[in-house]
Structure formats: C-alpha cells, structure tokens
C-alpha cells in the first residue's frame, strides 16, 4: 500500500509546506513541549472537552491537539471545494426527489429498498467548534507563522451559517428572521459547540421546553413574552423533535412542531428526514446522484464500496476479508468496524459470522491509503494518517469554509482517526493564492 505524505515528495518538501519546514527545523525542543502544554491548558480553559458527536467516550476527555498544521494549497482546495459543492448539490436534489416522485429509484439507479426502508438516522456532523478553536489557539501561540503564511480565515463560518439559516426562512416570515439553535441541553457532549455557535451568531440557544406551538407558529419564551421563531437550527435527532409525531411517550421535543413545519410556519435545519442521505449504504451512490441529477462527472471519487446485502458483493467481501475494512451501515465512531490487515484471525472470523447473519447491515471498502501529515510524537516529528471533515452549508447558496476538521490517528500506522480510539485534531490551513 503506497502512502501519500502531504509534506514530502520523496525528500523534497511540497510547496504548501515549505514554510513549515523552516518552522519545525528551528523550533527548540523545550519550546515545543512548552507550547504543547499551553495548547492543552487553553483547550481546557475554554472547556472544549467534548467527544466528537456520535463517537461516544468520556465527554470530559480532551481530544489531543496536534500543533503541526495540515496544509492545502489554494489550487488543491479549489478542486476540493468544487467537488464538495457538487456533491452537496446532488445530495440536496436526491432528498427533494426521494420525498417526492422518486425518479432516481424509478430509473433503477438506486435500489428503493435502501431508501424507503431506511429508518431515518440523522446525525448532525459536529466538530466545527474544533475547527474554530484550533485556529484560534494556533494563532494565539504562533502569531509569527500566521504572518509568514497567507492562510484563509475560518472564522467566517458563523456568519456564513447565520446567512444560510436566514436564507431558508419560511415565506410566512416577514422582516428579519428569528433564528434559534435547538440543543438537547448541557448534558449533551456537543453542548459547548451549540453554545459557541449561538454566541458567534448572536442567536438564542434553546431547549425543547423553551419553545411552544400556538396556532400556526412556533414561539420562544422570553422575559419579554413570547417571540415567534422562523428558523430552528436543530442539533437534536428527528426522534426528539415532536413527541406527537415520533415518540408519544417522550416529554422531550416540541409538541405540534411538525404540523407547523409541514404547513410552512417554521423552517427546520437540517430538514427532518434528511438523515436518509447520511446512510453509509446510500452514500455509496453519491457519484450516481451527481450523474443523474446534475448530468456531470463527479469531481471527487468515492471510496469503492461493496454492499454486503448484494450476494455478489458479499461473496467478494468474504473471500477478501483480511484485506478489507468492514463497517456497519449505521455505525459510527470506529466501533463495530473491522480493519482486515490489522485484525487478528479470531476477529476476522467473528466478522465472517456477523456478515453471514445480517449481510445488509454491512458495507466493505478496501483498506484506504489515507494520506499522512507530519505530527508531533514522542520521538520528534513523524508521519501519521489523517482524514478531513469539511463543513458545507446548503441554503439559498452553497457555501464552504476554507478549512475543516482534520482528524489524525496518533498511533503509528493506525488508520482509525476517531477520537474515542486514539485520534487527535489538527488545524487545517488553506493557503491564499
């Protein structure tokens, strides 16, 4: 398996990392340790200790922060941006279609079984606060490198998010839309992020009990009486939106919200039911969606994926289990996952049995040659595998912040970047051209 090192091409330093080469070469060991301790203290002080949502683990644990940035050149990012926006447009078209005429299913491009029997399973991708705070902390600790490099800002995210939310206000809204963030509450592992975004956008952070339905609208209780709400940026799952609709026994949520939403009295972001596009099995069809809805060739390739629910695919997967990565369709956090090349024989056999029992619950992919970025480790600086979580906003326009969350597998050779299993985060730079 060849591994792409984002900093070095052989012995040559790739251009985006050129200045970091000097930075690292001239940094004394004591300074490095000092700064690492300082970064940790800063993260603790601001209280950003949550586990990345959906990954489980101790909510008070700090995710290790690695000071060595991950860098994209302007042109690398431009291509990524085009590709990500293209996927966002296709996914949006897909959601409109499957809750309407279902053309892509009638055309036989996606099996209806995958879509229609999908229990909505919406996850709100979080971690955006890590992107924002990592940058803030890096700038505070190393102002010099931010002077030497022209790095695109990420702090425009909150303004972009606010604009996007305002742009989807219902037609019934007159004047400046009132936007709120709906959080499950302070016990939620991503509460810090919810309150940070509310602060940055200057909008109210509310829990279910702060909202109520009266007649055709949703209102927020305030000290000055009820205030109508136009857009709800919800960071709670579908199942907790409206007990009348989803969980009648639950006291969580806002009774009657779905009736108001469906009759156009309020907008909910992300839309209820959009989780169908977040399913790992549906996800494998994104390139088909790009071709079907946009009539374009996908700019970004998907990781080749075998659907174990298909007999042919399953046969291939079972025959090549030691080389593959197997994941649960609805799984997250790197749990319930087999990394074939790293797994013991017994673990592979355990997965073989699971696959035989419920094949449709699994997908398989080749072991990815995730690229590496230099990372501070015990012995100095060494390459570690990384991934990227970009933050794309879809409203009237599609917007992407130049940056994102880079997760890094801190264990040598490890491909699991999840924070619950030894992953850390890095600041992600996009250089201005």
């Amino acid at each position: 398996m060849t591994q792409f090192n984002e900093m070095y091409h052989g012995t040559e330093v790739r251009i985006p990392y050129a200045r970091l080469q000097d930075w690292i070469a001239t940094m004394p060991q004591e300074l490095r340790s000092l700064k690492q301790a300082e970064a940790e203290a800063l993260f603790r002080r601001i209280g950003i200790t949550f586990a990345v949502y959906g990954e489980g683990g101790d909510p008070d644990r700090l995710i290790p922060f690695d000071m060595f940035p991950r860098v994209f050149s302007g042109s690398e990012w431009a291509r990524l941006e085009r590709g990500i926006k293209q996927r966002a447009r296709a996914l949006n078209a897909f959601l409109v279609d499957v809750y309407g005429r279902g053309e892509i299913i009638r055309a036989g491009r996606i099996p209806g079984r995958l879509v229609y029997q999908n229990a909505d399973n919406c996850r709100t991708p979080s971690g955006v606060s890590y992107m924002l705070e990592s940058r803030e902390i890096m700038m505070r600790m190393f102002p010099d490198i931010f002077r030497e490099n022209r790095i695109e800002p990420v702090d425009t995210y909150s303004e972009k998010l606010r604009r996007t939310l305002a742009s989807v206000a219902p037609a019934k809204c007159n004047g400046e839309p009132t936007v709120v963030i709906l959080t499950p509450g302070h016990f939620n592992s991503a509460y810090y992020e919810h309150s940070l975004l509310a602060d940055l956008m200057g909008v109210e952070l509310v829990e279910g009990q702060d909202l109520f339905v009266d007649g055709e609208y949703v209102y927020m209780r305030t000290t000055e009486g009820p205030q109508r709400v136009d857009v709800i940026y919800r960071r709670i799952d579908d199942a907790y939106l409206d007990p009348l609709c989803f969980r009648p026994e639950s006291m969580l949520g806002i009774p009657g919200l779905m009736d108001v939403y469906r009759s156009g009295g309020v907008s909910i972001c992300s839309a209820p039911g959009s989780g169908v596009a977040d399913d790992k099995a549906v996800y494998t069809y994104v390139p088909d969606m790009v071709r079907f809805y946009l009539g374009e060739e996908p700019i970004l390739r998907n990781v080749p994926t075998w659907q174990c629910g298909r007999p042919d695919d399953l046969a291939h997967v079972l025959a090549n289990l030691p080389e593959l990565v197997v994941k649960e369709v609805h799984g997250s956090g790197g749990y319930g996952m087999l990394v074939g090349p790293k797994a013991a024989k017994e673990e592979i056999e355990r997965f073989r049995a699971k696959l035989a029992e419920d094949p449709a619950n699994y997908i398989a992919q080749p072991t990815l040659a995730l690229s590496t970025v230099p990372t501070f480790v015990e012995e100095g600086v060494a390459p570690r595998h990384v991934d990227l979580r970009p933050y794309c906003l879809v409203g009237e326009r599609i917007e992407l912040v130049p940056g994102g969350l880079t997760r890094v597998a801190l264990k040598e050779g490890s491909l699991v970047v999840n924070s619950s299993q030894g992953g850390g985060v890095k600041d992600t730079w996009v250089l201005a051209e």
Binding site: Y99, G100, R101, G102, I105, G112, R113, Y116, Q117, N118, A119, F212, V213, D214, G215, E216, P243, L244, C245, P248, P255, G256, M258, D259, V260, R262, S263, G264, G265
Partner: protein
C-alpha cells in the same frame, strides 16, 4: 350510502393542565369512494393551527388549547356520501412511495408465529394472496374486546388468538410486509348494522398495495373489504401513526378519555 357521523372525544384531567397540543387526522380522505357533504371539527377552547396535507394524502390539522383546563371536548360532526369500490382506493392523491410501507414498526414487527401465518397463505396472484392473508388473520385472531390494549403488538395478539380491529390490522400488516406486500394501517368509521354483526364504529383496517390496483383495503375483523359502510380518515405505518387524534397535555395530570361514536344512515 349517505352516512352521518357524530363522534365526541372527551378528555378529562384530574388536575388543571397548562396547555394541550393536538394533531388531528379527522377529515375524510378524498377519493372516488366517498364525498363530504358537510364536515365540522370543533375543539372546546381550542385555537385552530396549522393545516396541511401530508405525503400520504391525509389532511392533518393542529390545535392548541391554552390552560388551565380540566376538560377538552373534540366534536366531529358531518355527513359523507359513500360508494362501494370493493376496497379499492381509487382516485386518492398521495406522494409517498408504496415501498415505504415495507418498513416495520414495533407493533407490526414480525415474529416466527406471524411469519408462519404469512407463509400459510397462498394465491395465484398478488390480489388473491392479499385476500388469503386477510382470511388467515381473521381465522387466527378471534374478535374479542377487552383482552388487548392500545400497545398490544401483532405478535402478542396472535399469541393470544384474540383481539380487536387494531390487532387484526397490525397482524395483517405484519404478514403482508413479510410476504413483500406494502401494507398500512387505516383509521376511519364503520356504519354498524343493527343485527350486530359489524364491530366498532370508530374503526380500523389495513390497506395492501397490490401492483395492478394500487391500495386495496382489507378488514380482517369483519372478514370483508371496505365498502359503502366505511368512511376512511387517514393512514400510517401502524395504529399510533394513523391515530385520528394525537395529543399531549403539559402539566402532569392524569388523563381519562371517553369516546362516543354514532354512525347513522341518513334518510336524505
């Protein structure tokens, strides 16, 4: 047939509640088998809220009732002209794909006994299979009120061998889905004849999606398909999803519900 409906649901609370929110599926469906002559829903102390037609074609209306209240009356009165279409839901507009109704829910989840019941039915085509499934459910669950409750599952009802229309519908839905036929729960009214052979004025049955015909109703509780004696209100994955009235009261009081339904044939 011209049917007159008088349906009163009375909610009583043992202590005043702060507020009540309800969502109603209480308007007759629009399809070739029935036409509304007049129809009115009133809620004592209620403010009519949002109104929309959902993906399954049902009209859904929200109501809010500001407290403190100890009693709420939901009164439905109306007249509907009905026609016998042998259970076929002709001319009904909806946008949800039929295959969505292959998805199971807790009360309609298959178990070995339901699967065996589903297997026991056979038919030369989908329609006759649907009829056979309905007959199998009628045979396996005897009509008997009082032995099951609102949260009884299809599997539990089959194990008991007794139940009411809700249990029959859930069992038929489970068996049909098991056989690959999309199936859903329908709530409505039934004009009960005087000889007492028909059961339950506030009624429920199942619809199965038969490729050639579309949605077709089956009432295993009465061993027939819906005809001119039936008024269709709305549908869902199961009883809870298709409930004519859903509501939540804030305030921690105990709720008691009293329902009276009268369906009469109009002399015109």
């Amino acid at each position: 047939m011209r049917l007159m409906v008088d349906h009163l649901t009375l909610y009583r609370y043992d202590a005043p509640v702060r507020s009540i929110v309800q969502s109603h599926r209480l308007t007759p469906s629009i399809f070739a088998g029935q036409a509304v002559i007049d129809w009115e829903v009133t809620v004592s102390g209620g403010v009519e809220g949002a109104r929309h037609r959902d993906g399954a074609g049902d009209e859904v209306r929200g109501w809010t009732i500001a407290g403190p209240v100890t009693e709420v009356a939901v009164q439905v009165r109306g007249t509907v002209e009905t026609m016998d279409l042998s259970g076929v839901l002709r001319g009904h507009r909806e946008s949800v794909a039929a295959d969505c109704y292959l998805r199971d829910t807790a009360p309609t989840r298959i178990d070995p006994a339901l699967a065996a019941l589903g297997e026991s039915a056979s038919g030369a085509d989908m329609l006759s299979l649907a009829h056979a499934l309905s007959a199998a459910v009628s045979g396996a669950i005897a009509y008997r009120p009082g032995v099951t409750h609102a949260h009884t599952t299809a599997a539990e009802a089959l194990a008991l061998g007794e139940g009411v229309c809700q249990d029959h519908a859930h069992a038929l839905i489970a068996c049909a889905r098991y056989r690959g036929i999309p199936a859903r729960y329908v709530s409505g009214y039934l004009f009960a004849t005087e000889d007492g052979t028909m059961h339950e004025a506030a009624h429920a049955w199942a619809e199965l999606h038969v490729a050639a015909l579309g949605w077709v109703g089956f009432d295993p509780a009465n061993r027939c398909s819906p005809d001119a004696r039936y008024i269709r209100l709305g549908s869902g994955f199961d009883a809870q999803d298709a409930a004519p009235i859903r509501g939540i009261a804030r305030g921690g009081a105990t709720e008691a519900m009293d329902v009276t339904v009268a369906i009469l044939q109009s002399a015109q």
